[in-house]
Structures are given as structure tokens and as C-alpha cells.
């Protein structure tokens, strides 16, 4: 198969066009029953043709044009494939041109393609890679770059993923929860490399909210927007992490906050007694409350705590199933009922999170809140030893050194 089916569009003037078109045309082909990788190859050839033809003869309907040309290529490919098979006297007939591969209830092409890329048979890393390739329209090179792996490794991961989903019918409605998780993974994978994956996840999240009424899809989009709004303040000019309480709130993106709040409200409007808001909506509500505070001191911690109460209530055993929620609640509790209460709450997580840097960092924060600087310094140092990124480690080393110096002066 062509290694880089979408590469023709990388820098071309048609790229903006293509980023939205490619997934839709591809989804149309795959839904019709074409194999994923064959459809991608055919589409790539159609795109090359478009680059040649369109400048002189712009099509009325680019999507229909691409679909027609790609289909022609698929038919050609099948003919030569069939001829080869006859020659080799293969027993199995290769092409499968029977009816639609999906059920009717899958509404939109984007959604269909997302379900396919987030197939439960794929590992999360492959779901992410395939989503970025097929739905996001990123090149293998760009994706490899974002995850700091060699391009050949990412190409292999993507083609293995394609092989895995090839021929598998998507005969039940896909699991939207998996799609949401994959998009959130893309978001949290962050801003490495030349491509801003967070922005990409937001773009895909927007498409998803057009394709489904599910309030959690809007909850996720709201959460991403409300967190992304703080991004300009998260790192200073020297590349140092800046924690929420220290950020210059003037740098926050008010437009994204406004949009996030609007999207969240439209999601929350769907809630009923029987159907309380899901986790992304709750997390978005917490993010909105942080974004809403003019200064760290004005943060509405009691409100945040009450949303965390809702969040931990979503699982039967939050300590095991959602320790991150319990940890966030411990911070809120520390601000509402005092550091000791927060530390007691975080104690419950010792067995589950005791080897994770975030647990120790939260303990450091709570000790500092309670005025115990030596304990805070020790906790930050423990956190630094367990950090998983250089930026986090350096930040925690600084926190430890600062707390130690302050306690020496006190």
C-alpha cells in the first residue's frame, strides 16, 4: 500500500479543503464496503489527480469528484488484483463489493470513521494513531513527531492497525465512550512536535458534536476548550511549568472559555433525574469554575468540591476505578475544610497512587497549604523522583527547593 496516502496534500494549497474532505470521502468508501487501506490508496491517487486537474477545472462538488475518481481507481485495482489472483489460482476471491458495512443508525461519516479507528480490537496507541491519520488527516511523519517515535515505527503501527480493522464488519453501533476516550488521549498527548495535538483533538471533538447528540461528546469538547484556554499561561518564556494558582490569568483565552461554557451549558441542558451529567461534563464544570475565578484566591472551592462529589459518585469504587477524581477531590477538600482534611482524603489513595508523582505533588501542595513547609519539601522531592516528564520533574525540584528555602528562613 502507498505509505503516505495523504501526503500529496501536505503543503499544497488544497490542504485546508482536504482536511475536511478526506475523512468524509474515505468514510463513504469504507462504509460502502471497501477495505480501509485499499480505499485510502485509491483516495490518495484521486487526490494526486485533483492536484493536477482542479487548478484548471475546479469541480462543482469536490467530494463527489473525489469519490468518483477513487471508486474508478478501486475498480481498476480490483480488476488487476483479480487478474493476478486468477493467474495465481488463488482460491479466495479478494474483492468484496457487497452492501454497506455498517448499520443504518451510524449517522454521520465522521462518526462512522471514528468508530472504525477506535475499534475495540485496537490498543489505545493504535486507536490514537489511526484516528489522527484517517480522521485528522495528519501525515505519518507528523504523528510520529508528536509522539517522539521514528517515522518507520509509526508507519508500522498504523499499517498494523489498518490490517487489524480490515475486513472486520462494524455491525454494531460503535462505542462512543471509546471514541471520547481516544479523543481525550489525543488532547492530553499535547503540544509536542510541529503539530498541536490538543488543537487537533478540539477540531475532531467539534466534528463529533455535529455528528451525535450525546451530551458527553459536548462535555468532552467543553472540557478540552476550557483547559486549552489556559495553555498560553501554563509555560513561561523559559519553558518552566506554571501551576494554576500562579498563572497570569490575563493570558487565558477568553474566547475559548466563552465557547467552552456555551458548549457545556448545551450539554447540561440534556440532563434529567434519570440521566445525570457524565464525567466529561462534570470535569468541564470544574474547569469552568477555575476559568471563572479572577484570581486564585477567588476560586469557588465549595462549588468545585460539590462537582468532585458528583464525579466520585459516578463509580462504585472511586479509589480503584477513578483515583484521579479522588485526588482532585482531596485538593478541593483541602481548600474547603483545611489541609488536614485534604491529606486524610489523599491517604485513601496511598496504595493505588503511592508510586505516582501526582499523588506526592498533591501531598506537597496540601502540606504547604497547611503551613508545614518541611513536609511539603519532602513530598515535592518524592514527586520529582517519580515525575514522567522533564518539565514536571524540573518544576517539582524547584518546588522542593523553594519550600525548603522558605522553611529555613521561617
Amino acid at each position: 500500500m502507498a505509505d503516505e496516502p495523504i501526503s500529496a496534500w501536505d503543503d499544497g494549497p488544497l490542504r485546508a479543503y482536504g482536511r475536511d474532505l478526506i475523512p468524509r470521502v474515505l468514510a463513504g468508501l469504507v462504509r460502502r464496503g471497501e477495505q480501509f487501506d485499499a480505499a485510502e490508496d485509491a483516495l490518495q491517487e484521486a487526490l494526486l489527480e485533483a492536484l493536477r486537474v482542479w487548478p484548471e477545472h475546479p469541480p462543482n462538488d469536490p467530494r463527489a469528484w473525489l469519490t468518483t475518481v477513487a471508486t474508478r481507481r478501486l475498480v481498476d485495482a480490483r480488476r488487476s488484483e483479480a487478474a493476478r489472483h486468477r493467474r495465481e489460482e488463488e482460491a479466495e476471491a479478494e474483492p468484496r463489493v457487497d452492501g454497506p458495512a455498517s448499520s443504518e443508525e451510524v449517522g454521520d461519516d465522521t462518526l462512522f470513521l471514528l468508530f472504525r479507528c477506535c475499534h475495540p480490537a485496537l490498543a489505545p496507541a493504535s486507536q490514537v494513531a489511526l484516528t489522527l491519520r484517517a480522521v485528522g488527516g495528519l501525515t505519518t511523519r507528523e504523528i510520529a513527531d508528536a509522539f517522539y517515535v521514528p517515522e518507520a515505527t509509526m508507519a508500522q503501527r498504523i499499517s498494523r492497525a489498518k490490517r487489524t480493522v480490515r475486513g472486520r464488519r462494524l455491525d454494531q453501533p460503535g462505542d462512543l465512550a471509546v471514541v471520547l476516550r481516544v479523543l481525550y488521549l489525543v488532547y492530553t498527548a499535547g503540544h509536542a512536535g510541529r503539530v498541536d495535538l490538543a488543537r487537533e483533538a478540539i477540531r475532531l471533538g467539534r466534528q463529533l458534536t455535529l455528528a451525535t447528540e450525546e451530551p458527553e461528546a459536548r462535555g468532552l469538547l467543553a472540557l478540552m476548550l476550557l483547559n486549552h484556554a489556559r495553555l498560553p499561561a501554563r509555560v513561561d518564556a523559559e519553558g518552566r511549568l506554571v501551576t494554576l494558582d500562579q498563572q497570569d490569568r490575563g493570558l487565558w483565552n477568553r474566547r475559548e472559555i466563552a465557547e467552552g461554557v456555551r458548549v457545556l451549558q448545551s450539554a447540561l441542558a440534556w440532563q434529567t433525574e434519570a440521566r445525570p451529567p457524565g464525567r466529561y461534563q462534570v470535569e468541564a464544570a470544574i474547569a469552568a469554575l477555575h476559568d471563572d475565578a479572577a484570581s486564585a484566591e477567588e476560586t469557588d472551592w465549595p462549588q468545585i468540591l460539590s462537582w468532585y462529589d458528583d464525579l466520585v459518585a459516578l463509580t462504585d469504587d472511586p479509589v480503584r476505578d477513578d483515583p484521579a477524581a479522588v485526588l482532585g477531590r482531596a485538593v478541593a477538600l483541602g481548600h474547603v475544610d483545611g489541609a488536614a482534611a485534604g491529606l486524610r482524603e489523599s491517604d485513601r489513595l496511598r496504595d493505588v497512587l503511592g508510586e505516582r508523582h501526582r499523588w506526592h505533588a498533591v501531598r506537597g501542595h496540601l502540606h504547604e497549604l497547611g503551613g508545614d513547609l518541611p513536609a511539603a519539601a519532602a513530598a515535592y522531592a518524592e514527586a520529582a523522583r517519580r515525575a514522567t516528564t522533564v518539565a514536571e520533574r524540573d518544576h517539582l525540584v524547584r518546588q522542593a527547593a523553594r519550600a525548603r528555602a522558605q522553611s529555613a528562613r521561617a
Binding site: 517519580r386 522542593a400 527547593a401
Partner: protein
């Protein structure tokens, strides 16, 4: 041009030039100076066209070996952590000569320590055999 791996260690190696506490126990200003120096080293190597890669490693170490058919991998945390030869990170540089690699290593070792003076940390310099390794395609 030969490539050299310049390894920094958490522990192990020759007798330290002088003892120093872990970074999180330094004065905050000294911590900043140290981080700034590391950024400068990287920028300098990039500017010279000598930089290939640099990575930092978490201190937790696990040794693993094959446990036999149908058995889980056998793991151990390793020998005494204080005396263990524990790699903290590296620079991979592509340089004119071994002399240049040693020069860069010595420069890295001059990184500011507590109080601002050079740390004199030992840097482990290893030449990378040229040619692709069998694990690459």
C-alpha cells in the same frame, strides 16, 4: 564523524570530586542557574551542529530476565542503589574527534552546583559503534 554518548549518572563511577546534596536541596537560585546551564549546553550543541539527542531517565530501575517457558519475567530492583551504577541521562553528540567529545563532556561537568561553583561531576564517555544496529530496519 564519530558519535559519542555522554552519560550522566545518579550514582556509581569514580570517587566524586566533592560531595554535594541532591538538586532539590539546593538554594532555589542555584537550581535555576543549573537548569539554565543545561539549556545553554543543548542550545550550544545544536548551534554547532553536534547535537543528536539528549534524554533524562527516571531513577527507578528494574532488572528483568527471562523466567522460562510459561513463567512471568523475573524482576529485581537491583543491587544496593547507593553503589549501583545508575544512569541519569545522556547527550548523544556527533563530533569531529574523540578530543571534541571529551571537551564537551568536561564542559557539561562544569555545570554550576550549590553556591554557583562547578560541580565537577564525572561524565561517562562512550563511543557509539558506527553502522546500523540490528534492531533497526
Amino acid at each position: 564523524m564519530p558519535k559519542y554518548l555522554l552519560l550522566k549518572h545518579y550514582s556509581g563511577g569514580p570517587e566524586p570530586h566533592h560531595p554535594f546534596p541532591p538538586l532539590d536541596q539546593w538554594d532555589p537560585a542555584d537550581v535555576e542557574a543549573h537548569f539554565a546551564f543545561l539549556r545553554e549546553v543543548r542550545a550550544l550543541l545544536q548551534e554547532n551542529g553536534e547535537y543528536v539527542d539528549s534524554q533524562a531517565l527516571a531513577p527507578a530501575q528494574t532488572w528483568v530476565r527471562y523466567g522460562g517457558p510459561d513463567a512471568a519475567p523475573v524482576t529485581t530492583d537491583g543491587p544496593l542503589p547507593e553503589t549501583n551504577d545508575l544512569v541519569a541521562g545522556w547527550y548523544l553528540v556527533d563530533v569531529e574527534s574523540r578530543e571534541r567529545a571529551l571537551e564537551i563532556a568536561a564542559h557539561i561537568s562544569s555545570e554550576p552546583g550549590p553556591g554557583g561553583g562547578p560541580l565537577h561531576e564525572w561524565i561517562d564517555v562512550r563511543e557509539v559503534l558506527s553502522g546500523r544496529s540490528s534492531s533497526e530496519d
